[in-house]
């Protein structure tokens, strides 16, 4: 079985291990992820603040290319890319005039026929139904599922999970043998793009998230967004200095955790690439 | 040749448009005298066969007018009339009746001036179109399929 695959910039750079684990898990379930040829930037995060047509034309081009490649479903693991692609689909279906502008700018046909899946939806639809027999090493840890801001918002468009206190990742992790904890910072801001420009702010915001997870006994934090991951993992020094203690809870992509559960090799899943050692 | 004076039949509801036309009168707003009002309890009562009959008998244009949506004295008669009009319009297009000769509008009991505007604009547009008998002479059954909109 073949699904489309749009990695976006992060999965080719700072979050290579996310791409590796997505592809590895998919392969383990006989799913071929076919990358979009000649893909471009989704426009996140700056485009929609600068030029509306541009912010729609960029994702529309990706969707047009997917159509051209004959794909009907597109897996978009990055939460920011997913948000831009879904919002674009929504806007263009609501507004034929914009659709005409965008189609002309891209010089590519766009019908909006491609179904966009985020990683949680992809796992839920294609992996979980066949997971049970494949779990060889249940991910038997207390985990804090962290959704961040983009995965479930805006609810009116995504219609995915409930926007306050989402549950979808918790349900998946339960199936992988983990014990999801009830905690308060599931959708709190991690600091996002301030990662580079105001690292201390990220330290404070992500620090609150990490602090609550630690206080409630989490052994791992599970994420589905490259930005969340890099802030919670790469900015651990800033977090630790905000918290005034050394916290060594690892941050795993959900695909890495599931990969471990089905017995995939740690290196295949890219676990060695993390800043905080993955001890679980 | 004298200017063509079209015959316009207006089918209106008692509670909104009839009262609105009364207000046009009490406000002494002048409008074209080509229109004749026929009073119905509600636009929902209007059997659209009456419209076909009117064209058949020599009307050049028709106005159908009632309460604004949600203001129907009988709750929902105007919605029925509107829905029926959407269907009827397609039928008219199909059988070769010029639907631009039928003006469908909402005029409330407070819209005296609007009633005068609607009558005047309808008379002007029908006058420009000419008598319905002329239209019947040139109207032919369409050779290819009509777009039902």
């Amino acid at each position: 079985m073949t699904l489309g695959f749009y990695p976006g910039c992060s999965l080719k750079g700072s979050s290579r291990e996310y791409a590796e684990s997505v592809l590895a898990v998919a392969e383990a379930f006989d799913i071929h992820l076919e990358e979009i040829k000649d893909w471009n930037c989704c426009g996140a995060t700056a485009a929609h603040n600068m030029n509306k047509e541009l912010s729609l034309a960029l994702p529309a081009r990706i969707l047009s290319l997917a159509e051209k490649q004959g794909l009907t479903e597109l897996v978009v693991p990055c939460a920011a890319c997913y948000s831009r692609l879904t919002v674009t689909k929504h806007e263009l279906s609501e507004n034929p005039a914009l659709k005409a502008v965008v189609t002309e700018a891209n010089d590519l046909a766009y019908t909006g026929s491609v179904n966009v899946l985020n990683i949680v939806q992809m796992l839920d639809k294609y992996i979980i139904p066949n997971l049970e027999g494949k779990v060889v090493k249940p991910f038997d840890h207390k985990v804090a599922c962290y959704y961040g801001c983009l995965l479930v918002r805006p609810h009116e468009i995504l219609k995915f999970d409930r926007e306050e206190d989402p549950q979808s990742m918790d349900a998946l992790m339960l199936k992988a043998g983990a014990t999801p904890i009830d905690w308060a910072f599931k959708t709190e801001c991690c600091g996002a793009g301030l990662s580079v420009s105001r690292t201390s702010s990220v330290g404070r915001l992500s620090g609150k998230i990490m602090g609550d997870a630690k206080d409630r006994g989490a052994e791992a934090i599970i994420v589905a967004c490259p930005m969340c991951h890099s802030n919670l993992d790469m900015r651990r020094d800033a977090i630790n200095s905000y918290l005034g203690e050394k916290v060594d809870i690892p941050v795993l992509y959900i695909t890495q955790a599931i990969g471990l559960a089905i017995g995939l090799d740690r290196k295949t899943l890219g676990l060695q690439r993390h800043f905080v050692k993955v001890s679980v | 040749m004298a200017e063509f004076e079209p015959k316009i039949v207006a089918f209106v509801c008692n509670w909104c448009t009839y009262a609105g036309a009364d207000l046009t009168g009490t406000s002494r707003i002048k409008y074209a005298s080509n229109v004749r009002i026929i009073r119905f309890p509600c636009t929902g009562r209007i059997d659209y066969m009456l419209l076909l009959k009117s064209f058949d008998e020599g009307a050049d244009g028709i106005i159908v007018s009632g309460c604004h949506p949600n203001d129907c004295h009988y709750t929902s008669g105007n919605f029925h009339a509107r829905r029926r009009w959407i269907m009827f319009r397609s039928l008219c297009d199909f059988i070769g009746i010029d639907t631009e000769r039928i003006k469908f509008s909402w005029v409330s009991a407070a819209e005296g001036a609007k009633w005068a505007d609607i009558v005047n604009s309808t008379v002007a547009s029908i006058r420009a179109k000419g008598p319905y008998t002329d239209y019947k002479k040139v109207a032919k059954y369409p050779e290819k399929e009509v777009n039902h909109g």
Binding site: E164, D165 | G25, R36, I38, S54, H80
Partner: protein
């Protein structure tokens, strides 16, 4: 052959200044069927009316057309003139020569031509007019009041005090409604039960009121003045006549841990129970879902201890049929429940409670006897946070409207808390303070200024528990959107007031409409606030929209006056402008083919199925039948009918087609 009289009015000069009235009368006078034609300066004056009366008598007129002003102005006048002269009033029509002709066109040939056309149309219509008689409908002078909260109680008492019978039904074991749960009431802080319970007792003792508690409306048929209601009296497992209300059974019942509805789950009750000490009637019911006898087949302790032998385990629901002339719907509202606010932790944290639960905590008769103690551990909260608009005014939650009562009761709650816990700190998060009402704004100011309640303008994004405290995380929009975090011991949510569960089904039983939020719809938002679109059914209280006590009571009294007005007549008179289904001799009986499209078209549920049977009782055909009591005469069914079998009196097919034909064919 018709003998029609045409009477053309000059209306002083209002018509005659632009229309040649003499010419109109002369021209029309020559038409077929016109026996008399005249013009006169003021047709509505006494001499004018005499002209009409004399002509009817002398010429034996069968129809009258008065060409004058708008029928909306003088149709009743001229119909009355005809009736006085012995002609059926519905044989009279008016041509509108003033509003639709003389006032809106310039003087000239065309205007007079139009006037002649307008008269001719009506002359041809009158030829097809039929004598009609106004419809008389008898009135059953008993009212049904649904719901025994404050609105239902007030409506029942007001109607009963006008001397009419009232049947009051209440779904719970006691009347009193939400008001009986309240501690104190704003803006006076008088105790809710102290002002309510005397009214409850009055209801029970009123000779004109029949009270059915633990009862619900099963079905309703009929129309204004003539309703037939079936009431389901749910089994109380008790012989009410024998029961003295001693309460021994409730003290001995072994099933004691059932969350009390009256205390909003903050206290427990037994399986056989009286909801609260001042209940009316003060007799218990057995909750069959929790009772050990009904669930496990043994126990019967209540039966053993009952000194009068009043327990009836085999009692069944009873259906009571009543005939009533009017109905007041006063079924009240509900508050939004758990899982609606995952971000506020309601249902997850014991100390996050609703406003109604706080009322029980603050009430002297409540589970804590009026001490503010938090549900989790019974400690007195040192810091308490109130959230206004928990759900209300939140389109994302599907409740864009304002629940109206919360601003006031939140201020009251905070005030009561400060009065009871002097060292405590209270905070209110609000969007706006809506305190419109007599002494309302002053009341809120008192909470802020005298009792030191901290009002924070902003919303709360989430509440979570940490180290035994509830962290309330919000924003202060008056401090430039500064994030605020309060470590509270207890949080009270002013949850949105919503329609009752089952409101939709009740509306369908009653044939009344409801709004998108399932609150019942009034007939007009301003001028008919207690009427519904269904004649004889009225609304009171929060079933129509969230309402506070004074408003509910005012509405109830308003509805009661409407009922009393209806009951002041022995018969209702209605215009006979209604639809009829044609009937003819056997073997056709009616051209109606029984498609019943008209039934779906009718906005008033006025069309029903009629079965035509032969002498041996075999069904010949089913046809539509119009209920003249319900039909309002819109005629929507007429345009729907495929076989032209239904027609509307006064606007028949024949009449309308003759108008069109007359208009478009030169005479």
């Amino acid at each position: 052959m018709s003998k029609i009289g045409v009477f053309v009015c000059h209306c002083g000069e209002n018509i005659s200044s632009t229309v040649d009235c003499e010419k109109v009368a002369a021209t029309v006078g020559k038409y077929d069927g016109v026996a008399f034609s005249v013009d006169y300066k003021y047709m509505c004056s006494d001499p004018g009316q005499s002209i009409i009366k004399n002509a009817i008598a002398e010429k034996g007129l069968t129809g009258v057309v008065v060409a004058a002003c708008s029928p909306r102005m003088h149709e009743p006048t001229f119909r009355k003139v005809c009736a006085e002269a012995g002609l059926n009033p519905y044989m009279c029509e008016m041509a509108n020569l003033r509003e639709h002709c003389s006032w809106v066109h310039e003087k000239g040939e065309a205007t007079t031509e139009k006037a002649i056309d307008l008269v001719r149309i009506l002359v041809e219509k009158v030829k097809y007019n039929q004598s009609l008689n106004s419809i008389k409908v008898p009135v059953t002078k008993t009212a049904l009041v649904i719901g025994g909260g404050i609105a239902g109680i007030q409506a029942s008492l007001d109607i009963a005090n006008t001397g009419h019978k009232v049947i009051l039904i209440e779904k719970d074991p006691s009347i009193g409604g939400h008001m009986s749960q309240l501690s104190e009431t704003f803006p006076t802080l008088d105790c809710s039960q102290c002002i309510l319970t005397p009214r409850m007792v009055e209801v029970a003792q009123h000779p004109n009121i029949t009270l059915y508690t633990y009862a619900e409306l099963e079905s309703l048929e009929g129309f204004i003045g003539n309703f037939k209601a079936k009431i389901r009296k749910k089994s109380k497992s008790l012989d009410e006549k024998l029961c003295t209300g001693c309460g021994l059974c409730t003290t001995k019942c072994p099933t004691k841990k059932i969350p009390s509805e009256f205390n909003e789950g903050l206290g427990n009750r037994t399986a056989i129970y009286v909801p609260f000490p001042q209940a009316v009637p003060n007799k218990p019911v057995i909750d069959r879902i929790h009772c050990t006898y009904y669930t496990k087949g043994k126990c019967k302790i209540c039966e053993k201890v009952c000194p009068t032998g009043a327990i009836r385990f085999d009692q069944e629901d009873q259906i009571v049929e009543v005939e009533v002339g009017a109905i007041v719907v006063a079924t009240g509202f509900a508050v939004k429940r758990p899982d609606f606010f995952p971000e506020y932790g309601y249902g997850k944290y014991a100390d996050v409670i609703t406003g109604l639960q706080f009322e029980r905590l603050a009430s002297a008769s409540g589970p804590t006897l009026g001490e503010i103690r938090r549900p989790s551990d019974g400690k007195i909260p040192e810091k308490i946070v109130f959230l206004a608009c928990a759900g209300s005014r939140d389109p994302a939650k599907g409740i864009p409207y304002c629940s109206k009562i919360c601003c006031m009761y939140i201020a009251k709650h905070a005030m009561l808390y400060q009065h009871k816990v002097h060292s405590g700190k209270s905070y209110v998060f609000y969007m706006d303070i809506r305190a419109g009402g007599k002494m309302y704004e002053e009341f809120v100011r008192r909470a802020i200024e005298d009792d030191g309640v901290n009002y924070i303008r902003g919303r709360v994004s989430k509440i979570y528990e940490k180290n035994g405290k509830l962290i309330v995380s919000g924003v202060d929009t008056l401090l430039n959107a500064m994030p605020v975090e309060i470590e509270a011991d207890m949080v009270v949510l002013a949850t949105a007031g919503v329609a009752n569960e089952g409101a939709e089904e009740l509306a369908q039983k009653l044939h009344i409409s409801y709004d998108p939020y399932k609150f019942f719809a009034e007939a007009h938002p301003k001028l008919k606030p207690v009427e519904t679109n269904t004649g004889g059914i009225f609304l009171a209280g929060s079933c129509q929209a969230p309402r506070d006590i004074p408003e509910s009571v005012a509405m109830a009294s308003g509805a009661a006056v409407k009922v009393a007005g209806l009951f002041s007549q022995d018969e209702l008179t209605r215009e006979p402008i209604i639809a009829v289904v044609n009937r003819q001799a056997a073997p056709v009986y009616s051209s109606c083919v029984g498609c019943f499209l008209c039934v779906s078209a009718c906005p008033y549920q006025a069309i029903e199925k009629e079965e035509i049977k032969n002498r041996t009782g075999d069904l010949i055909k089913s046809i539509a039948k119009v209920n003249p009591g319900l039909c309002q005469g819109c005629g929507t069914c007429v345009a729907f009918c495929r076989t032209k079998s239904i027609d509307i009196q006064g606007y028949t097919h024949e009449q309308m087609y003759s108008e069109v034909m007359a208009l478009l064919n030169e005479y």
